[in-house]
């Protein structure tokens, strides 16, 4: 049972890190997963090309919210280029649990919003991190 809902994930779900609006955000991107109603906004404050601060506002399933929370911890202090280079495999590995195919979209919603923010997008053009 707990392979997919280890304490680590549940902890991030119940006590999300870096949650809530970010003051002075320079980059903001909202994305959602209409299938399950997950919503996620990522906000970055970039200064000197580095992630000075990051926060997210979201609601949804444990996987999407925990994944976003974990991501925010990771990117703080990184350069914008480093953030842009994070890929889906890295995020899935970081969760440390097996993600079933139907849940991959949940697990990657945070990354999608983060990338949208990092690239300064207003809408998502391509399919780079879209799960199949």
């Amino acid at each position: 049972m707990d392979d997919m809902y280890r304490d680590y994930i549940l902890d991030h779900y119940k006590n999300p890190r870096n949650s809530g609006p970010l003051e002075g955000a320079t980059h903001t991107y909202h994305d959602s997963n209409p299938l399950c109603g997950d919503e996620l906004t990522m906000q970055l404050r970039i200064s000197d090309g580095h992630v000075d601060d990051v926060r997210f506002i979201g609601k949804g399933c444990a996987i999407s919210q925990a994944s976003a929370s974990i991501l925010t911890e990771e990117v703080k202090g990184k350069t914008l280029d480093e953030v842009k280079a994070i890929d889906r495999d890295h995020v899935l590995a970081n969760l440390g649990i097996p993600i079933s195919p139907a849940r991959v979209k949940c697990a990657l919603l945070g990354l999608k919003a983060l990338k949208g923010a990092a690239w300064g997008l207003t809408a998502w053009p391509g399919e780079e991190v879209k799960a199949k």
Binding site: M1, D2, Y5, L35, G60, C61, I63
Partner: protein, 417 residues
Amino acid sequence: MAVTTRAESRLDVARIRADFPVLSQTVRGKPLVYLDNAATSQKPRQVIEAMSRVFEEHNANIHRGVYEFSERTTAVFEEARAKVAGLINAPSEREVIFVRNATEGVNLVAYAWGRDNLKRGDRIVTTVLEHHSDFVPWQQLAMEVGAEVAVVDIDDDGRLRRDQLSAELRKGVKLLAITHTSNGLGTVNPVKEIAAEAHAAGATVLVDAAQAVPHTPVDVQDLGADFLVFSGHKMLAPPGSGGVWGRTALLENMRPFLYGGDMISRVTISLTEWNELPWKFEAGTSSYVDAIGLGAAVDYLQEVGLARIHEHELGLVSYVLPRLQDIPGVTVYGPKTLEDRVGVVSFNIEGIHPHDVATIFDREGVCVRAGHHCNQPLMTRLGVPATTRASFYLYNTTEECDALVGAVHAAKKVFGV
């Protein structure tokens, strides 16, 4: 809470289960508890074999072949149509058009009837209970022709607001597109009464019976509908089978939908004449093996009896509803009584997203649907992003209901709620 437990099911469920090979499968080491029947049903070997038999014994393209295999395949295919016509009591099998699924059925009516019969300012009345397949085609057609769509609400028990419906019909209506049975809540609409009222208001009435034909006796003549659509895969038949029933007078006056082989009578470079009903609406090579599978499924359902299947499913609802409602944090959506409902039970567990619920259930071998069930307007109305939905069929048992209840407790334990 007014659920009365029904008498023991009169179905020989053990014998029925033995007909479904998949039901003896396990999931992650646990026995399969398949409770996603509103999404699609499992198939008995009678259906699987009816399909293999065509491929192994007499496969040939239908209608056009002047040789025995083609004639045999055509005969079994057209028999399947007659069986479907019998199931829904269609006045003529010429009124039964084979389509891929209910969705294609609604689109067929939207393209072939709607584009010629709806114009700027016309009103389409529909309900917040509709599946996307009976909503988006009308929404889009309305945008294309400049018609207006009125969406009738439900009350807090998930029942259609008849007062609102009457008011909308009185404002003028060209088409009423209404679901017979809600796939999201299990509500059964009083379609017969409603169709009479809509006709009196001048409407043509399309009934989405995708959740009705598989689970209850449906009689198109008694309902008084003008069009009715359903999907085979929800009623023991393969995906790829399904039907539109329509009144002859309407179908004959409609332009075709898909153009091509088999639906024509004569083609010249400048002009084409159409084939007779129902073939006018069946262009190209039909999914004839799927349709033959549907014929076998109809036989199976008729033999068990749809009234008894319905009764059996209500028995399961009466068993499981109070048990779910007794669990702290569980909210059940839709009708809480057995009147005018089917075996669909939608619920949420406080503090756990339905997707997490379904993932944990899956680990217990319990297959349920989590999501918006192609009912986003309904989810918006309920004020939730999604629900968890268990839906029953003739092969489900009270033991499986217990597994469902057990899975709810398991999910609560994992999430500590």
